[in-house]
C-alpha cells in the first residue's frame, strides 16, 4: 500500500507559483498593463533621456531669442525664462520626483511593516502602544508639518525631503499590516509552524510576511503616485527640492507667473505629474485585483 503512488492531480507543466498566477491575472487588466507600459516608458525617459537631449539642465540660450519660446521642433517643450530647454528639465525633474517617490515609499514601508507586524503579531501592550503612537501620528496634519519641518531642519538635499515624506507615510501601511497579521496569526498554517517549533521571528518573517505581500505591494504602488504629488506640493511651496536641481514641483513653482504668457511651462510638468500619478493608481488597482486572496485556492 505505502509507496504505491496514487494518481496525481493534473498538475500543469509550469510551476504555477504565486507570481505566475498574479501575472496571468494582471494581463487581463488592460488599463493596468497599459499604465505599466507607460510608466516604464516614463522611467526610462527620465533616467536615460537627458543623456540624449541636445541641451543640458542649465544651459541658457541666447538671452533674447531663446527665452520663453513655445514648444517647437528645436525645443519640444519650449524654453523657460532663462532659455533653458524645458523638455530636458522635465526629464531631469522626473528623475528627482521619481526618486523621491520610490525611496520615500520604500522607507515608509519599512517602518510600517515593522510597526504593523510586531503590533499585530504580539498584540497586548506592544500593540496598544504602537497603535496609539500611530494614531497620534495620523492626527497630525501632514502638509503644514512638512512645511515646518522642512524649514526647520537644516540642509537642502533631496534626502531630507525623502525622510520627511517617509516620516508621515508609514502609518497607513502599519495599520493595514497589523490588520493582516491579526488574522494571519490565527490561521492554521501559523499554528502548524508553532507546532513544529518555529520561533516567533521565523513565523513573522518567513511565514506571515510573504502572505501579507499583496496589500504591501498595492499600497506601495499607490503610494508612489501619492508621494510624487506630495513632493510636487512641497517643492511648489518652496519647501521641497531647491533649485537649481529641478523637480516637477519646483519647475511648476517657477512657472507660476508665466501661466498666461508661457502656459507650456505649467502644463508640461503638470501633465507629467498627472500622468505618472494616475498611472501608478491604475497599476495599483490592477495589482490589487490580481493579487486577490482567491489566488490562494
Amino acid at each position: 500500500m505505502i509507496g504505491e503512488l496514487t494518481q496525481q492531480k493534473e498538475v500543469s507543466r509550469r510551476v504555477e507559483g504565486y507570481w505566475y498566477l498574479v501575472g496571468k491575472h494582471l494581463k487581463k487588466h488592460k488599463l493596468a498593463m497599459f499604465s505599466m507600459f507607460l510608466l516604464g516608458m516614463i522611467v526610462l525617459l527620465c533616467v536615460f533621456g537627458p543623456y540624449f537631449t541636445r541641451y543640458t539642465m542649465n544651459e541658457m540660450g541666447n538671452a533674447t531669442t531663446d527665452v520663453l519660446q513655445a514648444p517647437s521642433s528645436r525645443h519640444w517643450f519650449g524654453t523657460d525664462e532663462l532659455g533653458r530647454d524645458v523638455f530636458t528639465r522635465v526629464l531631469l525633474g522626473g528623475r528627482i520626483s521619481l526618486l523621491v517617490g520610490f525611496s520615500s515609499v520604500f522607507s515608509a514601508l519599512l517602518v510600517g511593516i515593522i510597526v504593523g507586524a510586531y503590533a499585530g503579531y504580539y498584540g497586548g501592550i506592544l500593540d496598544t502602544v504602537l497603535m496609539r503612537f500611530t494614531d497620534i501620528m495620523f492626527s497630525i496634519p501632514v502638509l503644514p508639518l512638512l512645511v515646518v519641518l522642512s524649514s526647520v531642519i537644516p540642509g537642502a538635499g533631496v534626502w531630507k525631503i525623502v525622510l520627511i515624506i517617509a516620516l508621515f507615510g508609514w502609518m497607513t501601511d502599519a495599520r493595514i499590516i497589523r490588520g493582516l497579521f491579526l488574522s494571519l496569526r490565527e490561521s492554521e498554517f501559523t499554528e502548524a509552524a508553532r507546532a513544529i517549533g518555529v520561533s516567533n521571528t521565523g513565523i513573522i518573517w518567513r511565514h506571515l510576511l510573504p502572505n501579507a505581500l499583496a496589500p504591501i505591494i498595492v499600497s506601495a504602488t499607490l503610494g508612489v503616485g501619492g508621494n510624487i504629488i506630495y513632493e510636487a506640493a512641497l517643492s511648489y511651496l518652496g519647501f521641497g527640492v531647491m533649485p537649481p536641481t529641478p523637480s516637477w514641483g519646483n519647475i511648476l513653482q517657477n512657472a507660476q507667473y508665466a501661466m498666461t504668457i508661457a502656459p507650456w511651462l505649467v502644463w508640461t510638468p503638470g501633465l507629467a505629474i498627472l500622468i505618472t500619478a494616475i498611472g501608478f493608481n491604475f497599476l495599483g488597482d490592477g495589482l490589487r485585483d490580481a493579487m486577490d486572496p482567491r489566488l490562494y485556492r
Binding site: 500500500m1 496514487t6 494518481q7 492531480k9 493534473e10 487581463k28
Partner: protein, 327 residues
C-alpha cells in the same frame, strides 16, 4: 409510474460553466425523475454536479454558468421555457429549497418571524396578522419550542439546529410540492442531524411533499430515500431504489464507495479499507471514455475509448457501465 404522478422529469440536463480557464461541464447529461410525494436522493462527491443540478432545477444558475441543454419538466411544463417572472412565482411556493448553512441563508438583521412571514406574504395574499399566525403554526410544526417567543428572535440567537428548523419552516410555509434539501444536515452535529432528519421524515409523511435530498452521505439517505441516484463527474452513473443500491449495487463506483466506508455496525478488524484508487477527475481534464475508468478496477479498453450510455438492467435499476457488477 403513471404520467400524472411524475412531479419532476429532468431530461438530459446540461449545465456548463464558461470560465477563463476553460469550460467546466458541471452537469453533462443528467436524467432525474421525482414522483409526487417521493423521496429521491442525489448522492455524490465534490465535482459530481449535484448542487449545480439542484440550482439548475430552480433556474438559479448565473454567469459564467449556463443551462445549455435538456428539459426540466415540472408538473408537465418545461421550466427552461418559463420567464424569470414565472420562475419567481414557483420558487419558494411550489418548489422550495433549504441549504447547508442556515446562518448565511438567513438575514441577520431581521427576526426569524419576520423572515418567515415575508416568505408567506410573498406568495399568498393574506394579511400580516394572518401571516404571523401561520408563521407561529409553522414554527410549532417544525418543533421549535415556545414559538411565540421565538418569533421575535434573531438568527444569531439560535443554534445551528434551530436555524435549520427555521429554514424548513420557511420552505414549507407555502406548502410546496417539492422540497430540495441541499446538504442541509451536513454541517450539523450527529445528534442534531438525527433530529432534523426525523423532523423531515415526519413532515414528509404529514404533508405529502416530494423531497430531493442532495448529499454526499450515503448513510443519511438509507432510511429516508425511496430512490437513490449516484452522480459522478457530471453524470448519473446509477439509479435504483434505496434497497437495490445498498443490497446490490451494479456500478463499480457505487460498489467501491459502499465497500470503502468503515462499517459502524461491525467490530473492528485490522484490515485496511478497500479504498477506491485515484481522485475525482479535474473538471478541465475529463478522462476519455467512461469518466470513472482511471479509478475502476474492472476497466477494459472499451471503457477507455467509449462513454457508456445509461441502461436499465432490471426494472427500475439503471446503470451507466459496460461491465456492471453481477447482482
Amino acid at each position: 409510474m403513471k404520467k400524472n404522478e411524475i412531479l419532476v422529469d429532468v431530461k438530459n440536463l446540461q449545465t456548463y460553466f464558461f470560465t477563463d480557464d476553460g469550460v467546466v461541464k458541471a452537469v453533462d447529461g443528467m436524467d432525474l425523475r421525482i414522483g409526487r410525494g417521493e423521496v429521491v436522493a442525489l448522492v455524490g462527491e465534490s465535482g459530481c454536479g449535484k448542487s449545480v443540478a439542484s440550482l439548475s432545477i430552480m433556474r438559479l444558475i448565473d454567469k459564467p454558468g449556463k443551462i445549455i441543454g435538456g428539459e426540466l419538466l415540472f408538473k408537465g411544463e418545461d421550466l427552461l421555457k418559463k420567464t424569470e417572472e414565472e420562475m419567481r412565482k414557483i420558487r419558494g411556493s411550489e418548489i422550495a429549497m433549504i441549504f447547508q448553512e442556515p446562518m448565511t441563508s438567513l438575514n441577520p438583521v431581521y427576526t426569524i418571524g419576520n423572515q418567515i412571514s415575508e416568505a408567506i406574504t410573498l406568495h399568498q395574499k393574506i394579511h400580516a396578522t394572518e401571516a404571523k399566525k401561520r408563521t407561529i403554526e409553522m414554527l410549532y410544526l417544525v418543533g421549535i419550542p415556545e414559538p411565540e417567543r421565538r418569533f421575535s428572535q434573531y438568527p444569531h440567537e439560535m443554534s445551528g439546529g434551530m436555524r435549520q428548523r427555521v429554514m424548513i419552516a420557511m420552505a414549507l410555509s407555502s406548502n410546496p410540492e417539492l422540497l430540495i434539501s441541499d446538504e442541509a444536515t451536513t454541517a450539523l452535529d450527529v445528534t442534531i442531524q438525527a433530529q432534523i432528519l426525523d423532523l423531515m421524515r415526519g413532515l414528509q409523511k404529514k404533508l405529502g411533499m416530494a423531497i430531493l435530498i442532495i448529499t454526499h452521505n450515503l448513510a443519511v439517505v438509507a432510511e429516508m430515500a425511496n430512490t437513490i441516484n449516484i452522480a459522478y463527474a457530471g453524470k448519473i452513473v446509477e439509479s435504483a431504489s434505496a434497497r437495490e443500491i445498498f443490497k446490490s449495487p451494479r456500478h463499480p463506483y457505487t460498489y467501491g464507495l459502499l465497500q470503502s466506508i468503515p462499517k459502524f455496525t461491525e467490530k473492528r478488524t485490522n484490515e485496511p479499507l478497500p479504498a477506491i484508487d485515484g481522485m475525482v477527475p479535474s473538471p478541465y481534464h475529463m478522462p476519455k471514455g467512461c469518466r470513472f475508468n482511471p479509478r475502476c478496477p474492472f476497466a477494459t479498453e472499451k471503457c477507455r475509448e467509449e462513454e457508456p450510455e445509461i441502461v436499465e438492467l432490471t426494472p427500475g435499476h439503471l446503470t451507466r457501465c459496460f461491465h456492471p457488477i453481477e447482482s
